[in-house]
């Protein structure tokens, strides 16, 4: 039980999962073809960032609450982003009758 006895939560233990989450988001964004799925991936990324801020705030500089407030605002921003993005995607869906990102490649080169 030494391991358990010496176990201490450190920042890396939270940073790595959050980073993992971010990278999952990246993967999803790069591979999903459904635009809403891409948005979902983006939410993962933003969420990971929020978590980063909180973790840094709590572990490294708990005296001030910059990180927490950033996260607070970032959540609001994320909501706004999602709203606008979904509006645009639904709009595009109305025009293209499709939600596959692959079909949105009329303009290129």
């Amino acid at each position: 039980m030494d391991f358990l006895n010496n176990f201490q939560l450190n920042s890396l233990m939270f940073l790595i999962p959050s980073l993992f989450m971010f990278c999952c988001g990246v993967y999803g964004f790069l591979t999903r073809r459904n635009m809403i799925a891409m948005l979902i991936s983006l939410e993962l990324m933003l969420n990971a960032v929020d978590m980063n801020f909180v973790v840094f705030n709590r572990f490294l500089c708990p005296a001030q609450m910059d990180g927490m407030f950033f996260t607070l605002f970032a959540i609001a921003i994320a909501a706004a982003e999602t709203a606008v993005a979904i509006a645009i995607i639904i709009n595009a869906y109305r025009i293209a009758k499709d939600i596959d990102v692959k079909d949105l490649t009329k303009m290129k080169f």
């Binding site: 920042s11 971010f22 988001g25 964004f29 635009m35 891409m38 948005l39 983006l42 990324m45 933003l46 990971a48 960032v49 980063n52 801020f53 840094f56 705030n57 490294l60 500089c61 001030q64 910059d66 990180g67 407030f69 950033f70 605002f73 970032a74 921003i77 706004a80 982003e81 606008v84 993005a85 509006a87 645009i88 995607i89 709009n91 595009a92 025009i95 293209a96 990102v101 949105l104 009329k106 303009m107 290129k108 080169f109």
Partner: protein, 490 residues
């Protein structure tokens, strides 16, 4: 709580008042006075917004003359003569954009969202103000998002055009992705420095580390996205092409100009201290890539808007030369460059818009022989191209020369190499700018664009921009006064 601190934000407050007036007019004026295509409706809202903004612009100039540097909200927001100047420069650009867009706004397609165009535009401008004045990353992010999210909606404004929606989707997806990356970088910075205030980060005396550089790279990527620096530029062409031309011109000059300044502030005030000049080397690589790749893409374009998109990518690289110089002189040169770039690019977009409104044509091939049918438009376009290419005696030459002079102030060999690469790239850019001139003046074919009389507003905008192109450089007062401003601290 000291609400009097809001009084320091004269320009933001003024802008919000303009926004609110338009908003309220939109809300409470009778529907027929805003929507529809009859003259009154068309004129009402556009004139109101434009005139109000013109008044506001004038007011902004008055502020900048009288105001001193001020830092409020615990150092979160700061305004200085330099900052006021760049805001004024942006205001001028926005005013021209507004005048140019009047004709488009009068069109039937715009009937139901005339006011929203102005409202969104003012809010994005507000966001840019915040970006420029922010001295705390939270405010900066809010500004950045305000400057880009409503823009996505504006890009999608053209209901009837498929490209508009495709562009909007591309824009919003990449923009959010970019802001995620940007905020990840910020989180690392926060983790290292423990604060989000610019001055505190700079004062944190951080140890050199890979994390810091990676964070810097992400921050650069996030801002570079809005500036369309290569390789963060790929959205640019599609969005510029798809968006309504008024929005494109707004994106290409105002958004770019504001971000360039903000970028400079972030780099100089926050990262300037770290690693002595790591950020300069990163920017160095970005500049070379931006100028070169932007040029290479621009060569092949046949759509005027797409063509100008790549041209503006390459121009962003030149603007960045002012950042990398990192001294007063290059700061002034950069601001001057932005001003001149606003005029030159808006002249080009003014012509494109005039023609597009009339005929719907945006292909370079449609411009063949334009000087026979519409000599004045062709002439304005040619001057714009010359100015963008940096041909004297037009303003573009001066701005380019000054920005190179500023960049070389350091005197390091690397800078000479960079400027040489940039200069060689001006040859390539000259080539494609001349392609437009060639199409208009040299191509022997009959022009598919018949002679037409452009609207008053369009002509007014063109006169202003062409006047600017001719005079801005020669009349040295402009540059000299900008330089006077920049000799005070940021």
């Amino acid at each position: 709580m000291d609400y009097s601190q809001f009084l320091a934000m004269k320009q933001e407050i003024g802008l919000l008042i303009v926004f609110l007036l338009v908003f309220l007019y939109d809300l409470f004026a009778p529907r027929y006075a805003v929507a529809g295509t009859d003259k009154k409706a068309v004129k009402g809202i556009s004139m109101l917004a434009t005139v109000l903004f013109a008044v506001f612009t004038a007011y902004g100039f008055c502020c900048s003359v009288t105001d001193n540097a001020q830092s409020v909200f615990g150092g979160m927001y700061s305004t200085t003569p330099v900052v006021a100047t760049i805001k004024n420069i942006l205001n001028i650009g926005v005013l021209i954009v507004l005048i140019q867009s009047m004709q488009w706004n009068a069109s039937e397609a715009q009937a139901t969202r005339r006011a929203e165009f102005y409202e969104l535009l003012f809010i994005t401008l507000f966001g840019m103000y915040l970006m420029i004045s922010a001295r705390h990353f939270l405010l900066f992010v809010i500004g950045l998002e305000s400057a880009s999210l409503p823009l996505a909606a504006m890009v999608a404004f053209d209901k009837n055009k498929y490209e508009s929606h495709e562009a909007a989707v591309k824009y919003i997806l990449t923009a959010v992705f970019s802001s995620a990356i940007f905020m990840l970088g910020l989180s690392f910075v926060y983790g290292l420095a423990g604060s989000l205030y610019f001055d505190k980060i700079a004062a944190a005396a951080l140890q050199d580390s890979g994390l810091l550089i990676v964070a810097m790279a992400f921050v650069m990527a996030g801002i570079g996205f809005k500036l369309s620096l290569v390789p963060f530029h790929l959205w640019t062409a599609d969005v510029y092409q798809g968006a309504p031309t008024s929005v494109t011109s707004y994106l290409s000059v105002i958004s770019k100009g504001a971000t360039a300044f903000a970028f400079m502030v972030v780099m100089v005030q926050v990262f300037g201290q770290f690693y002595s000049d790591a950020w300069e080397w990163m920017l160095y690589a970005l500049i070379i890539a931006t100028i070169t790749i932007g040029n290479l893409f621009a060569i092949r374009q046949r759509n005027m808007k797409r063509f100008l998109a790549f041209s503006s990518v390459s121009q962003a690289g030149y603007i960045m030369l002012g950042v990398i110089g990192a001294n007063e002189m290059s700061l002034a040169a950069m601001m001057f460059y932005i001003l001149v770039y606003i005029f030159s690019n808006l002249a080009a977009f003014g012509v494109i818009q005039a023609i597009e409104n009339k005929t719907g044509l945006v292909g370079m091939d449609s411009y063949r022989g334009l000087h026979k049918t519409n000599p004045r438009l062709a002439f304005a376009m040619m001057l714009a191209m010359f100015s963008l290419a940096g041909i004297p005696p037009f303003a573009g030459f001066f701005s380019k020369f000054f920005i190179f002079t500023g960049a070389l102030n350091q005197g390091s060999v690397a800078m000479y190499v960079l400027v040489l690469i940039a200069l060689i790239n001006t040859i390539v850019s000259l080539y494609y700018y001349l392609l437009v001139v060639k199409a208009m003046y040299i191509a022997p074919e009959e022009c598919e664009i018949a002679n037409f009389k452009s609207a008053c507003s369009e002509r007014l905008a063109l006169v202003v921009t062409v006047g600017g192109i001719i005079l801005l450089g020669i009349v040295s007062v402009v540059y000299n006064s900008i330089l006077t401003m920049t000799s005070s601290p940021l």
